[in-house]
């Protein structure tokens, strides 16, 4: 029976990128539908009535919402290759913990870094560096958070790297100087095919951030 897989997404969304990476890693044929977030499609509103957000994964007509939940779903259904979560329950709990940390912390501190000014921005810079240093500590000497191959945490985190040019420019921060191990990890990830072919380049995202700042008068 042929599987029908559709992804409702927005090209610049780090959350959407997570699902794209998971689909690519597993070699899952799917249809990508770009949403206009100012004019959401009836399909999106029908498939995610509670939050009305992307990404939404639709598998044989059933919708799975929330990026990390969709990635776990993909890992569980297409389980014959490239496992993203470890098999040991304790290791799994730690992978979930750090992916959840990315959700709770990384998105917020990044956002504050490029949208705030003055004291608030200074505070955001400090938090940004602290958070990435903590992640460096968690990575340790491993090649990826998943070990020898990319795993759940790598997939959760790497999309935010595509926003770094904007973070650095508007946030006035040199991430490589502050967190060299983090940048080294990110560059290794960008060499992984399922990641590099699933995410936009930093220049394109930077252009998008410039537009947003103009639109919302953040300059």
């Amino acid at each position: 029976m042929a599987d029908e897989v559709i992804l409702l997404d927005y090209w610049a969304s780090p959350f959407g990128m997570r699902v794209r990476i998971a689909l690519a890693e597993k070699g899952i044929k799917h249809e990508y539908k770009e949403e206009d977030l100012r004019n959401k499609s009836p399909l999106l509103l029908q498939m995610n009535p509670v939050h009305k957000k992307i990404p939404v994964l639709i598998h044989n007509g059933k919708s799975i919402c929330e990026s990390l939940i969709a990635v776990q779903y993909i890992d569980e259904v297409w389980n014959e290759k490239s496992p993203l979560l470890p098999s040991d329950p304790y290791q799994r709990s730690q992978a979930r913990f750090w992916a959840d940390y990315v959700d709770k912390k990384i998105y917020e501190v990044g956002k504050n870094l490029w949208t705030k000014k003055g004291e608030e921005q200074e505070a955001a810079k400090k938090e940004f560096v602290e958070a990435h240093k903590l992640l460096e500590q968690e990575l340790g000497d491993k090649t990826y958070f998943g070990g020898d191959k990319i795993g759940f945490v790598d997939v959760a985190l790497i999309p935010f790297y595509t926003w770094f040019k904007g973070y650095e420019t508007f946030g006035n921060i040199n991430v490589e100087k502050e967190c060299p191990k983090f940048i080294a990890w990110a560059k290794r990830c960008m060499q992984v095919e399922s990641i590099s072919k699933s995410v936009p380049d930093q220049d394109k995202v930077y252009g998008f951030m410039v537009e947003i700042r103009k639109k919302f008068g953040l300059e």
């Binding site: 509670v50 929330e66 776990q72 779903y73 259904v77 959840d100």
Partner: protein
């Protein structure tokens, strides 16, 4: 039942916290013996800081010396480690739904209700409106199921312990009528099933003490 030798299960928690209580409920449902230590968040123990350096919060489950933090993550760990009375279905889609609803409870529904109960005069109307919207989302989801998981209690029901028990206490203290039989009959009915479940009944903190605890917080 919990297996064998060298099995040490410890829960660092706070008796009045619904997040901490979720772990008590799950361990009791699985029949896992554990040691409980009450944490004073104004004076955090060395163990708390050692086992959860990132957030410095409870609950924390420590299993054979390995700590796990964040209640929903702990619940999944418990379910994967002790296989009896499963909290999650084996079907990946059902699991995704359960995870979605647990997360929605934490991200959207609980905060809306909590804010309404603690709102001041100025923000009250809007906060109450959002709380009622949040309860409507649950009402539409529970439909005529006995539990969120279906016939048996599962992950979402445990995650919704705040809705089943804490909401009644908090809304009374705040002088609000958020969750009532008239407004949300299905969620109300679910809450009665929930608190009358034999294991849950024994696992929830005593109502009078919980009421007194939050009433004291309200007058500060």
């Amino acid at each position: 039942m919990a297996t064998a030798n060298q099995e040490e299960v410890r829960l660092l928690g706070k008796w009045a916290s619904p997040f901490s209580n979720r772990i008590d409920l799950a361990l009791k449902l699985k029949g896992v013996p554990y040691k409980y230590s009450e944490e004073n968040l104004a004076n955090k123990s060395d163990d708390l800081l050692k086992y959860n350096p990132v957030y410095k919060k409870v609950p924390i489950l420590v299993h054979n010396g390995n700590p796990i933090a964040e209640s929903l993550i702990i619940l999944e760990y418990i379910d994967e480690t002790w296989k009896n009375n499963p909290l999650l279905s084996e079907d990946p889609y059902e699991r995704a739904l359960a995870r979605f609803w647990s997360k929605t409870l934490d991200d959207k529904i609980l905060p809306a209700i909590w804010n309404a109960c603690w709102s001041d005069e100025k923000g009250r109307e809007k906060a109450v409106e959002e709380a009622l919207e949040a309860l409507k989302i649950l009402e539409d989801e529970i439909k005529d199921k006995k539990f969120f998981g279906g016939e048996t209690l599962g992950l979402v029901d445990i995650a919704a312990n705040f809705i089943g028990y804490w909401v009644y206490i908090l809304q009374e203290i705040a002088g609000l009528e958020l969750l009532t039989l008239e407004k949300f009959p299905k969620v109300y009915k679910w809450s009665q099933e929930f608190i009358n479940h034999p294991v849950i009944k024994e696992g929830l903190p005593p109502r009078d003490e919980l009421f007194a605890f939050f009433k004291a917080s309200a007058s500060k």
